[in-house]
């Protein structure tokens, strides 16, 4: 093999902060050949981002390399002076960061920002630099680049901004591009476009790539080799196919098993990794994963495993499948996840795609009819009187009708800005609808008296995406959980205490939690608290707005399992709102797909995901990143971007991005129909029915 472009040897990084020094990296070894793509995966706090940042000496304040070498093209960057590093940054090594909204300077033109590295590293005139900037913007697929040069970042969408950030990193034609979670802040369809772009540029420019991500799906089809990190060390390192086919480290296995995509049987709970990742303030003895590992022995707790290829215990070759585990899985053994799955709860099996134990026969609990919400574009009382202000409004939700049955999970999927959160807020009554009605258990909420409404509150509760923001920071957990009981006047003090203790038992938190403040808990624990509070009043329906989207995969699996178990026990219905197809697919009995305020498709989850009828659903499914390196490339990923809700397209709102759009779509809004099976509704003039979809894939 050729000389590596980058070789990281025994890298140690410490970050000094208020709470003590964190050993962010503790002996990381990596190599990267010219033109090769390496994926670094792991959950938050595992050190993947620190690894990426330390290559260019961009560690945050308080961070420093305390040991090891970073050899880039023969130069040790860990020991290099700032001057040398500056010569490399943006020149031979480019970097793309996670958040395109904040990583561009808001007051500098795009042209100046993109041309900046070129003016720094090459002897070019300003005009030449701007010409090259235009060319690079064209390369990354920014429409009308010449015009965009004079624009500012806020005039672009998130996806377009990330393209600009990539152009900035590429303008000097680097030999290595480091992308740190480049698509995490983006929508599924945009994510797909950016990953495709990176892929294509890498091939075209022949550069090496380090792709840092928490998402196994993102790297599956994009890199040659993968390094899995845990607790500041590399747990497993392998070419992508062997790793995905047969992960050997017990942590990697658990990570795969916790993916909602991996659940072969939607009726079964996901495998979870108990506990939390280690805090890296003190050096752990033994394997860092041992406290959470079902296979740990005394050896694991006493000694720290080194990376080996498992054959002779010697240091592994760069490209070998190496694992830092004393008891790795046997690559020959079959389904690696099987060993980790908890036993199938007896007597609780159910057919996937049916509404819990009650099936589709469950009585309707919630019925939305033509529910709409428009916001005025300018809410200030003075602005409303201004000329031309009349009629400018945002159509957030436009005529949504659906039914949620008792005890069922109804999943709402859609990208950001599709109105799914607004829909949830209208269902719980946080926002009054502009038009349409919400019927709960047969009664129109609009007709309830104030008193009835207050009583009604017991029956519908909301679970927030960020439970810490939804809990008064000055209240202890005991008071937070008791508040709903106090407000509704349920029981005396002692009874309320008992109820709170019972709720904590239900969500698997120790009873001692009542004396603590919400911020003392981890993200996953806070979501447990959020669920406990939502359940305090024994509601019939819980609206859960992105309840797991801020969590790591292993913790997400814990919460999803908990929600499902409690549903089965208490017969709660969920309106589960999420952007994550895999999560909804795993949890939901019925599903509704939203696009720009419209419900474009509804039906039993299994049918919708297996045979989507709406081109948008099809596109969403195709754009999602499956954690499988051998997955076929998508047939019809979505291009373009979602139009503004302030000026939605006429007729069918999806037509501007639809591969099947025709003249009819621009003039007439498609009514919902059930072309295939009853209960599977779609709002499309040209749905992907059995006959039609065959035609599309051949064309």
């Amino acid at each position: 093999m050729t000389d590596p472009l980058l070789r990281v040897e025994d890298l140690h990084v410490e970050i000094a902060g208020r709470g003590g020094t964190v050993r962010a990296l503790d002996g990381v070894d990596l190599t990267l050949a010219p033109g090769e793509a390496l994926g670094i995966v792991g959950e938050s706090g595992c050190g993947k981002t620190m690894t990426a940042l330390s290559v260019l000496g961009l560690l945050p304040p308080g961070g420093r390399v305390t040991g090891g070498r970073i050899l880039f093209d023969g130069t040790d960057l860990a020991a290099a002076p700032e001057r040398v590093l500056r010569g490399i940054r943006g020149n031979t090594v480019g970097m793309v960061f996670q958040d395109p909204l904040t990583s561009l300077n808001p007051t500098v033109t795009l042209g100046a920002q993109v041309a900046e590295p070129l003016l720094l590293h090459r002897k070019v005139s300003r005009a030449e630099a701007w010409a090259k900037a235009e060319e690079t913007l064209r390369l990354v697929g920014l429409p009308r680049p010449a015009e965009r040069l004079r624009h500012y970042p806020h005039q672009l969408s998130g996806g377009m901004r990330q393209r600009v950030a990539i152009a900035m990193a590429l303008i000097c034609e680097p030999r290595l591009l480091i992308a740190d979670e480049p698509t995490t802040a983006l929508d599924v369809t945009t994510q797909h476009q950016i990953l495709e772009l990176l892929d294509e540029l890498r091939t075209r420019l022949g550069m090496a790539l380090i792709l840092v991500t928490h998402d196994l799906g993102v790297i599956a089809r994009r890199v040659d080799r993968v390094a899995v990190m845990y607790g500041g060390r590399i747990a497993e390192r392998a070419p992508v196919r062997p790793l995905f086919a047969a992960p050997r480290h017990r942590y990697t296995q658990a990570l795969f098993a916790a993916l909602p995509d991996a659940a072969t049987d939607a009726g079964r709970p996901l495998a979870t990794v108990p506990g939390l990742p280690p805090s890296l303030t003190s050096r752990p003895t033994g394997c860092r994963f041992a406290p959470r590992c079902g296979f740990a022995t005394d050896l694991c707790r006493a000694a720290e495993p080194e990376l080996t290829d498992g054959l002779d215990g010697a240091a592994p070759a760069d490209t070998a499948h190496a694992v830092a585990c004393f008891h790795p899985a046997d690559p020959a053994a079959g389904d690696p996840a099987a060993a980790l799955l908890p036993p199938h709860p007896a007597g609780e099996a159910r057919e996937p795609g049916t509404a819990g134990t009650l099936g589709n026969t469950g009585e309707p609990l919630l019925r939305l009819a033509g529910l709409s919400k428009t916001y005025p574009l300018h809410a200030s009382p003075f602005a409303r009187r201004g000329p031309g202000a009349r009629g400018r409004e945002i159509s957030a939700v436009a005529g949504v009708s659906l039914t949620v049955r008792r005890g069922e999970t109804f999943g709402i999927v859609g990208e950001s800005g599709c109105g799914k959160s607004t829909l949830g807020r209208m269902v719980v009554g946080l926002e009054p609808p502009t038009a349409g009605s919400v019927h709960f258990a047969g009664r129109d909420l609009a007709t309830l008296t104030k008193r009835e409404l207050r009583a009604h509150r017991r029956r519908v509760q909301l679970m927030f995406q960020d439970s810490s923001a939804a809990m008064d920071p000055r209240m202890r957990v005991g008071a937070v959980l008791r508040e709903p009981l106090v407000i509704q006047g349920i029981g005396d003090r002692a009874e309320q205490r008992r109820r709170v203790a019972g709720l904590l038992d239900d969500v698997g938190l120790p009873r001692g939690a009542v004396d603590r403040y919400p911020h003392e808990f981890s993200g996953g624990q806070r979501q447990r608290l959020g669920l406990a509070r939502a359940l305090a009043l024994s509601p019939a329906l819980v609206v859960a707005d992105e309840p797991v989207s801020a969590l790591d995969v292993s913790v997400q699996a814990q919460i999803l399992n908990l929600m499902r178990a409690l549903q089965r026990e208490k017969g709660i219905g969920y309106l589960f709102i999420s952007h994550d197809l895999a999560v909804v697919r795993h949890l939901a009995d019925s599903v509704g797909v939203m696009y720009l305020g419209k419900l474009v498709e509804t039906g039993p989850a299994r049918q919708v995901f297996a045979r989507p009828l709406h081109p948008y659903t099809r596109g969403l499914l195709d754009s999602a990143n499956t954690p499988d390196p051998d997955a076929p490339p998508p047939v019809s990923p979505l291009g373009g971007e979602t139009p503004s809700a302030a000026a939605p397209p006429s007729g069918c709102r999806f037509r501007t991005r639809c591969p099947r759009a025709a003249g009819l779509c621009a003039t007439t809004e498609p009514p919902p129909t059930e072309p295939e099976t009853p209960g599977h509704r779609v709002a499309c003039h040209f749905p992907l029915t059995s006959a039609g979809s065959r035609g599309l894939s051949s064309g």
């Binding site: 260019l56 961009l58 590093l85 500056r86 010569g87 490399i88 940054r89 943006g90 020149n91 480019g94 970097m95 960061f97 958040d99 904040t102 990583s103 561009l104 300077n105 808001p106 007051t107 500098v108 033109t109 900046e116 590295p117 720094l120 590293h121 624009h151 500012y152 806020h154 005039q155 950030a165 900035m168 990193a169 300018h378 200030s380 003075f382 602005a383 201004g386 000329p387 202000a389």
Partner: protein
């Protein structure tokens, strides 16, 4: 931008109207009403009634306000009791001089505060930062008159370096011609604002240094000095425009004291003299003009901000 302009202008108009209402209310709070104030405490009730009728003070308050507003719009602010001159002409003489003093002080404050704030941010947690922070706290706490007094004692009397009295001239040009005499008044008026601005700038620069775009600039290979000059300062300075507007009232309060201390022939001195002699038309006239100047000044500051910040500028 146009929408922003329209909105901001309407707001300023409403505030201006309310300022006139406030001054109108103050006028009617005068002991015994305007008549007693003008005719004196000794005036007979008949004389008062006659005056009130003649001046329209016996009409309903809304009517009076409308005619008051009408007079304001034609520039009629009344006659000074003591100076035998119309308030409007007095103000026309004095306003430019005060504007000069305030403008110079503001400019000085901005010019001094920016490097100080940047220095503090760059040296955060080191001796220079602590020292300057301490000095800023003290400067902020020092009343303008005490500072002026100390400066007069040190530079005027002990060292005899600078004149302790402001320039006495009828025109702005004449005042500028005596530049050395301007130094102490301008410095006195500026110091407190320097303290406030440098505190703001310190935190603004620190906030911006923590932004992701700074990391991006570093990842391009930019040096720290140029990141400060090209990226951070630009973002930290734009909000300074609104801050300038917000500090106008403080600045005018400062010039009131400075003018009376240094005997500077501006609006503040006029106001102070009027306060000593209970010359109410002048007092209220100056109050109104200062209020209007503040409203228009902060309007200008906001417009400047909108022009400087592309995020507001390009929003239609």
């Amino acid at each position: 931008m146009i929408r922003f302009l329209a909105k901001r202008l309407t707001q300023a108009l409403v505030v201006l109207l309310l300022v006139s209402v406030l001054v109108f209310v103050l006028l009617h709070l005068l002991p015994g009403g305007p008549a007693r104030a003008i005719l004196g405490v000794q005036a007979t009730p008949d004389a008062v009634a006659h005056f009130n009728h003649q001046q329209g003070y016996d009409r309903s308050l809304p009517e009076q306000y409308v005619s008051y507003l009408g007079r304001l719009l034609t520039g009629d602010l009344g006659e000074s009791y003591k100076l035998n001159q119309s308030v409007a002409s007095l103000l026309a003489e004095r306003l430019p001089k005060t504007a000069l003093l305030a403008g110079l002080a503001l400019a000085l404050a901005a010019v001094v505060a920016v490097p100080l704030g940047v220095l503090q941010a760059v040296r955060r947690g080191r001796a220079a930062d602590y020292l300057l922070t301490g000095v800023a706290f003290l400067a902020y706490a020092t009343p303008v008159f005490f500072l002026g007094l100390v400066l007069i004692l040190v530079f005027g009397q002990q060292l005899q370096l600078l004149p302790a009295e402001a320039p006495q001239a009828d025109t702005v040009g004449g005042i500028l011609a005596q530049a050395p005499a301007l130094v102490l008044p301008v410095v006195t008026a500026a110091l407190g604002i320097v303290a406030a601005f440098s505190r703001y700038l310190r935190s603004a620069v620190l906030d911006n240094l923590a932004e992701d775009y700074v990391r991006t600039a570093r990842a391009k290979g930019q040096s720290n000095a140029r990141i400060m000059a090209r990226h951070v300062l630009r973002n930290a300075l734009i909000p300074l425009a609104t801050l300038l507007g917000l500090y106008l009232p403080t600045l005018f309060s400062g010039t009131l004291v400075v003018e009376s201390m240094f005997n500077y022939p501006g609006m503040g001195l006029l106001f102070w003299n009027a306060a000593q002699s209970s010359d109410f038309p002048v007092l209220l006239g100056v109050t109104l003009v200062v209020g209007v100047a503040t409203v228009l000044g902060s309007l200008l500051a906001d417009l400047a901000y909108a022009l400087l910040d592309p995020r507001i500028r390009s929003v239609t």
